[in-house]
């Protein structure tokens, strides 16, 4: 596969995953802003921005409708939902012959729906997230059922896994974690809602309840989002996926150049597989998740070094 094609598929996938994450952040926080809460409006939306990596061009100006509108519809921002979908489509268009017609048509339909008509500020924020999420799911379905699960598909998996692991790790990092503090569900404790909000941002609330019941504790929430091996939005699950796709890629391309890449990815996977949540909490959650984000960035640059932007003389000497 051409390196340029792999690059486009990878970024198409990352942008769509980013769009999906932003949709959930927007939907959950928008509805929570409507409830009385211990967190101020300003505190909440600044935290949302921090969880999205403080994207350029999006700022808290005191009007949460304005910010929500920008997060949904700001076409020129690569952090807004519409901007992400447009960027994904642009990438797909460059490799039109490498993806299936089902994928292309679904992505095209979604793109036209989100860009055709930008509503007034505050409008459509109720139905926009749900409708977009639906379209994104349709695209995932088309990808899984219509595309050959070969190299191109693996690059799509890698893009999604890296984006998701980084996003969840960053989101965990903007919360204050304290193992000794219990979460009370009393009417007076609006803090309870914040933790539910966190789980819902990761589409994790129902799955969490299935495993732990509705009994919320900080170590269990962290354990679930970080280390659960079956839940698709946990960091560990994403890294398992990443590692699996990387191995498939290496096998397929028949090259042994990606030695450092497998070592770094394998080490990250092992650290998540054999980690104790009490240790993480004792040593500090923030440095731990920060390290995960950094490892992901490192893996990204190794993928680019080995598969996409490799030096000609290096490739010739192999």
């Amino acid at each position: 596969m051409l390196s340029r094609v792999a690059d486009s598929l990878y970024w198409m996938s990352r942008y769509l995953e980013r769009a999906e994450h932003t949709v959930r952040m927007l939907e959950v926080n928008f509805s929570m802003t409507l409830d009385p809460s211990s967190t101020s409006e300003e505190g909440r939306w600044k935290r949302v921005l921090a969880a999205l990596g403080n994207p350029e061009g999006l700022e808290w100006t005191g009007d949460f409708y304005a910010l929500a509108h920008a997060l949904a519809f700001e076409r020129d921002s690569r952090a807004s939902i519409t901007g992400c979908i447009a960027a994904a489509r642009e990438n797909a268009r460059q490799v039109r012959e490498e993806i299936t017609s089902d994928q292309w048509q679904q992505l095209n339909r979604m793109y036209h729906r989100v860009t055709d008509e930008v509503p007034q500020k505050g409008d459509r924020l109720d139905e926009f997230p749900a409708a977009t999420l639906n379209e994104l799911h349709l695209f995932q379905g088309a990808t899984d059922t219509s595309m050959s699960h070969g190299e191109g598909w693996h690059f799509i998996q890698i893009g999604r896994a890296i984006e998701r692991a980084t996003a969840i790790a960053t989101l965990i990092g903007v919360f204050e974690w304290d193992a000794s503090e219990s979460i009370s569900e009393g009417a007076g404790s609006q803090q309870f809602l914040e933790w539910i909000g966190l789980l819902r941002c990761c589409t994790a609330f129902e799955s969490y309840c299935n495993l732990y019941t509705a009994d919320l504790t900080q170590p269990q929430i962290l354990q679930f989002l970080l280390l659960n091996k079956e839940f698709p939005h946990s960091v560990r699950y994403s890294i398992d996926q990443l590692r699996w796709a990387l191995m498939a890629l290496q096998e397929g391309s028949g090259r042994l150049v990606a030695e450092e890449l497998s070592r770094v990815a394998g080490r990250l996977q092992a650290s998540l597989n054999f980690c104790e949540i009490s240790e993480v909490m004792a040593q500090g959650v923030r440095p731990y998740v920060h390290n995960i984000s950094q490892q992901c960035r490192h893996i990204h640059s190794l993928i680019y070094r080995d598969y996409i932007h490799y030096k000609v003389h290096v490739a010739l000497s192999q």
Partner: protein, 514 residues
């Protein structure tokens, strides 16, 4: 002018019976009713009716079939064909607009039918012409015998902007310069085909030929079947084997790629289509690197050597080191790799010399010089503006002539005399005087019309429109013409311009076995 299916004359309904081509004694057809109510005949050659108003035998079945389909059904089939084009994304880009607008390629439902005998002559004529032009290129870029013998003036060759001095003395594989040609033909009043121009650089449109056929087969399967149409679906395979046969020596399993300028090119759809049909990689300039005069593409499995490049990028843009330095579409060092014989480019550099519109006037002489044969397909009469006598003649008759810039294509930079104003004529006269080498003039041709289905689903009618024909000629280990081609239609009534950029459309072309 209103007519619905219910009002179709009974005679027409009865006549659809069990017609087969040529089975019916011909009598002039009543044009006043039904789908033919807007049809007209004049001195222009009509593809469907002869000069007496009788249906040509090979069009009889088609006309009967269409006449018997009710309006709603016709509209439905047209609609489903439209949808099929749209969902496949069969579009082209119009330049001159800001950003380039993507449009669906306009498409006509009535096929253009060519009999086996007509086609055989076309095929022989094209093979003859391409063989001679290829010999001409080889000669001019090496010994220059034809120039020495005075059959083609040197100044025409050396003043051509597409002449590439860099090609002098280079041996190209199998001596094939023009692997792919799309030659534009017209049928004149006497029914004979003439060559309007040869497109020897990067001819496009073949994807429309192939997709139109697929859509037509689906829309009118029975008619298609009973006609006995020669297949064209093998075009990608023939192209692939032609490209393979041109690989550099010592590369038995050549890697072949299609080089595209990228998504913003007007023919990008065609590039993706052909690459997919041939199963070869679609690359852009940035995917290729040159090392030690060898071309590689960057793949996730490392660098892979490339042996043959079917390039859809013009000469000027293909190598910023050898040609235009501001090109970002090309590959630095590609020309050197080519000269070193490590990679084949199809078509070769400098083929534009042989489709220069001024050199065109000499093609009959070129055919006679190399092949010692008379041309099978004649040229259109052409006045060279570099010749004072011919120029004076042209200036005196501008209102009857078509003036063309020699380097332009796609219907840009033309003056159509009968449709021009005095100001436009004066403007072209000034331009010609400033640069006579850049222009030629030809008589305004009254070329043939073919029946087309007009009306947007509402009140459809069959009306005649001017058409040309662009067959595709492939040259590898031998010359092959795929039986058919792109029939382009000037969809505006009375218009003579068939280019898609100027309101033209296309229709399927059926070449019959018999």
């Amino acid at each position: 002018m209103t007519s619905s299916a219910n009002e179709l004359p009974n005679a027409a309904v009865e006549s659809m019976g069990s017609a087969t081509p040529g089975s019916r004694a011909s009598a002039p057809v009543d044009l006043s009713n039904g789908y033919l109510r807007n049809y007209f005949l004049d001195q222009a050659y009509d593809e469907m009716f002869d000069s007496g108003g009788n249906v040509r035998s090979h069009y009889r079945l088609l006309l009967d079939t269409f006449s018997s389909v009710p309006e709603e059904e016709l509209a439905r089939r047209k609609h489903s064909a439209d949808i099929s084009f749209r969902t496949q994304g069969i579009t082209f880009t119009v330049y001159g607009n800001q950003e380039g607008t993507e449009r669906i390629f306009p498409y006509d439902m009535l096929p253009r039918i060519i009999t086996g005998a007509e086609w055989d002559r076309i095929e022989r004529g094209l093979i003859q012409r391409i063989t001679a032009l290829n010999l001409f290129l080889g000669d001019v870029y090496n010994d220059g015998k034809i120039l020495r013998d005075g059959f083609v003036p040197r100044e025409i060759v050396y003043s051509c902007p597409h002449f590439r001095r860099e090609m002098r003395g280079l041996q190209v594989p199998r001596n094939v310069y023009i692997a792919v040609t799309g030659t534009d033909l017209l049928r004149l009043n006497d029914g004979n085909f003439v060559v309007l121009e040869d497109n020897l650089r990067v001819p496009s449109g073949v994807s429309y030929m192939l997709t139109s056929r697929r859509v037509m087969k689906r829309a009118f399967p029975q008619t298609f079947r009973s006609y006995g149409v020669r297949p064209i679906e093998h075009y990608p395979q023939v192209l692939l084997s032609a490209l393979r046969s041109l690989a550099p020596e010592g590369r038995p399993e050549p890697t072949i790629v299609l080089l595209t300028p990228g998504v913003y090119n007007s023919a990008y759809f065609e590039h993706t289509y052909l690459a997919r049909q041939m199963g070869i990689e679609l690359v852009e300039g940035r995917d290729l690197v040159i090392h030690d005069n060898i071309v590689y593409m960057r793949t996730t499995a490392g660098l892979k050597r490339v042996d043959v490049i079917y390039r859809r990028v013009d000469d000027d843009f293909i190598d910023p080191l050898a040609f235009r330095g501001d090109s970002i579409l090309g590959v630095a060092g590609l020309f050197n790799a080519y000269r070193a014989g490590n990679v084949t480019l199809a078509n070769a550099f400098g083929t534009g010399l042989a489709d220069d519109k001024a050199l065109y006037a000499y093609v009959p002489a070129i055919i006679r010089y190399y092949l010692k044969e008379d041309p099978i397909l004649p040229n259109v009469e052409t006045f060279l503006m570099t010749d004072p006598t011919q120029r004076q003649h042209a200036f005196a008759n501008l209102q009857n002539l078509v003036v063309k810039a020699v380097g332009e294509s796609g219907g840009y930079g033309m003056l159509i005399g009968p449709h021009s104003t005095k100001e436009q004529q004066a403007e072209f006269r000034a331009r010609i005087e400033a640069n006579p080498r850049n222009y030629i003039a030809q008589p305004t041709l009254n070329f043939s019309r073919s029946p087309c289905l007009m009306g947007d689903g509402n009140e459809p009618s069959i009306e005649p429109r001017h058409v040309d024909l662009r067959p595709y000629i492939l040259y590898g280990d031998k010359v092959t013409v795929v039986p058919g081609g792109l029939t382009r239609v000037a969809l505006r009534k009375g218009s003579l311009v068939v280019n898609s950029s100027q309101g033209g459309g296309s229709k399927d072309t059926w070449v019959l076995h018999a």
